[in-house]
């Protein structure tokens, strides 16, 4: 404790030289001046510590006792930081560091969202922002319990949420509510019909009455599996489900211009740097940053982060603009055919529920300023498609489907 008091009061090392230095010590003690660490260097020289404020008095009393007093060194807080007065930048840095330590940690600087699977982090951050919780919020204003309740109201997908703040770090832990599977069909009863003309190759019925077989030719819209299961005495309505593959044929025409606009880089490029502090953007360039010319913009960001992985909300964004001009270029037939075939393949695959292209016959001809592709693809395709059956209020099944081949339907007809 004494050391701490001495450090902040400041103390000096003094050497007292005289014929009888112990008389000087007596005089100091009589005057009530505190001193300690008295070392007798020899008969004529004593050295001791005393408070800086008492140094002048010690000198005066020493002279009164026919001794001399020599100041050897300064110690304590003021002595340690006295040099800072001559180094204002260092002093400023020290003040900033102290500010950062004791003031800035009162604000929220990093928000970490954990536990989200389907909800995007930005959705949570937006909801928090409506509650005035964002980067830069004063941490003492955040009430964890109130925030939890308000967030549960704001985001119905949340089952529970916890908001914990540690200094400038806000951790948002959440658990999402188990939502019903969106892929599941919303209707209860359904038939399975053919999505396209074709020859059936595989028929696998999971639910419902099978009305088709492999090798059979079917038309688009034809009933393949009925949702009415006929048990003779009774009929049960179900949601028919089947996996039915067929050989199908896709025929079509694609057209593209014989000239394409191609990017040619002029070689000119700009770099623009932007500093993002929280949600504030500070442009580090002089102009507006809006370019009317054709430019490619490539953005790279660098986030200031700690070695532990926590990111500060300070991001340096570098945008590189590469100017280009569009030049018309004649496409060769080979390239045109290649591009058209690729586009045809992509189009055909996207038109199928599931399946693959087995073979394609295609021909490309040039017609004026156009390349025309005529293609015919043979595919193995899943053609089963569910068609809902609606039931009227009185319990009767609405006649949506022409003929499902069951006794129930025949009786109705």
């Amino acid at each position: 404790m004494y050391e701490l008091i001495n450090y902040f009061r400041g103390y000096v090392r003094l050497r007292i030289t005289g014929a009888a230095p112990e008389k000087c010590l007596n005089a100091l003690s009589q005057e009530g001046i505190a001193f300690w660490g008295i070392i007798k260097e020899d008969d004529l020289h004593y050295s001791l510590f005393s408070y800086t404020a008492d140094a002048a008095m010690v000198n005066r009393l020493a002279m009164k006792e026919f001794c001399s007093c020599e100041l050897l060194a300064h110690f304590g807080f003021r002595a340690a930081f006295r040099g800072l007065r001559k180094r204002p930048v260092l002093l400023l840095g020290l003040l900033l560091a102290l500010t950062a330590t004791f003031v800035l940690q009162g604000f929220v600087w990093t928000i970490q969202v954990e536990g989200n699977t389907t909800l995007h982090e930005q959705e949570i951050l937006r909801a928090l922002k409506t509650l005035d919780i964002a980067v830069g919020t004063w941490g003492a204003n955040i009430n964890s319990e109130r925030t939890k309740n308000q967030m549960l109201n704001l985001v119905p997908e949340l089952q529970w949420i916890a908001v914990n703040r540690t200094g400038g770090y806000l951790q948002v832990l959440l658990h999402e509510r188990a939502m019903p599977d969106k892929d599941e069909d919303p209707y209860q009863f359904a038939n399975v019909i053919a999505a396209r003309d074709g020859v059936l190759t595989e028929v696998s019925v999971l639910e419902g009455m099978k009305l088709c077989a492999a090798g059979q030719t079917v038309r688009k819209g034809q009933l393949l599996v009925s949702g009415y299961e006929d048990y003779g005495q009774m009929t049960r309505v179900v949601r028919a489900s089947a996996e039915i593959y067929a050989t199908t044929w896709h025929t079509g025409t694609l057209v593209m211009p014989s000239q394409a606009m191609e990017k040619v880089y002029t070689g000119e490029q700009w770099t623009q740097k932007t500093l993002l502090i929280g949600e504030k953007r500070i442009n580090l360039y002089g102009n507006s940053g809006i370019y009317t010319d054709n430019c490619d913009k490539i953005i790279s960001t660098r986030v200031l982060s700690l070695p532990g992985g926590y990111d500060f909300p300070i991001v340096l964004e570098t945008a590189v603009y590469r100017q280009y001009r569009l030049v018309p270029r004649e496409l060769s037939p080979l390239i045109a055919q290649e591009q058209l075939e690729t586009a045809w393949e992509r189009l055909t695959v996207s038109a199928m529920i599931a399946g693959e292209i087995q073979s394609t016959e295609a021909s490309v001809i040039r017609s004026g300023e156009l390349y025309v592709l005529n293609a015919n693809s043979t595919c193995k395709e899943m053609i089963a498609r569910a068609m809902p059956i609606t039931i009227a209020d009185d319990g009767a099944v609405a006649k949506e489907n022409t003929n499902d081949g069951t006794d129930y339907q025949r009786r109705e007809n």
Binding site: E22, F35, W36, K40
Partner: protein
């Protein structure tokens, strides 16, 4: 006469005599530290001997590597290898 009176009074009241008179109080802590209260100043200070003036006499600390650690108006603390204390 006065000292005897103070001693008698302090004894009857069960009050330490040094608390209301300049009666010296010497505390010896082990063999390394001695503290003298109500002193009258240093009379002699060497490595082997420190002589502290007290009311009507002196207390002499004898030993080796003796050093006055701290000194205030009321008390003086002496540290070192203490061998003997003499009252004069």
């Amino acid at each position: 006469m006065k000292e005897k009176l103070i001693d008698d009074l302090a004894g009857k009241l069960s009050i330490p005599a040094e608390s209301f008179a300049s009666v010296p109080l010497t505390e010896l802590r082990g063999k390394r530290n001695v503290c003298v209260e109500n002193h009258g100043g240093i009379m002699e200070y060497t490595d082997e001997r420190v002589k502290v003036a007290v009311r009507r006499g002196a207390i002499c600390v004898i030993g080796s590597d003796l050093c006055i650690e701290r000194m205030t108006r009321r008390r003086v603390e002496i540290r070192g290898n203490i061998r003997a204390l003499e009252l004069e």
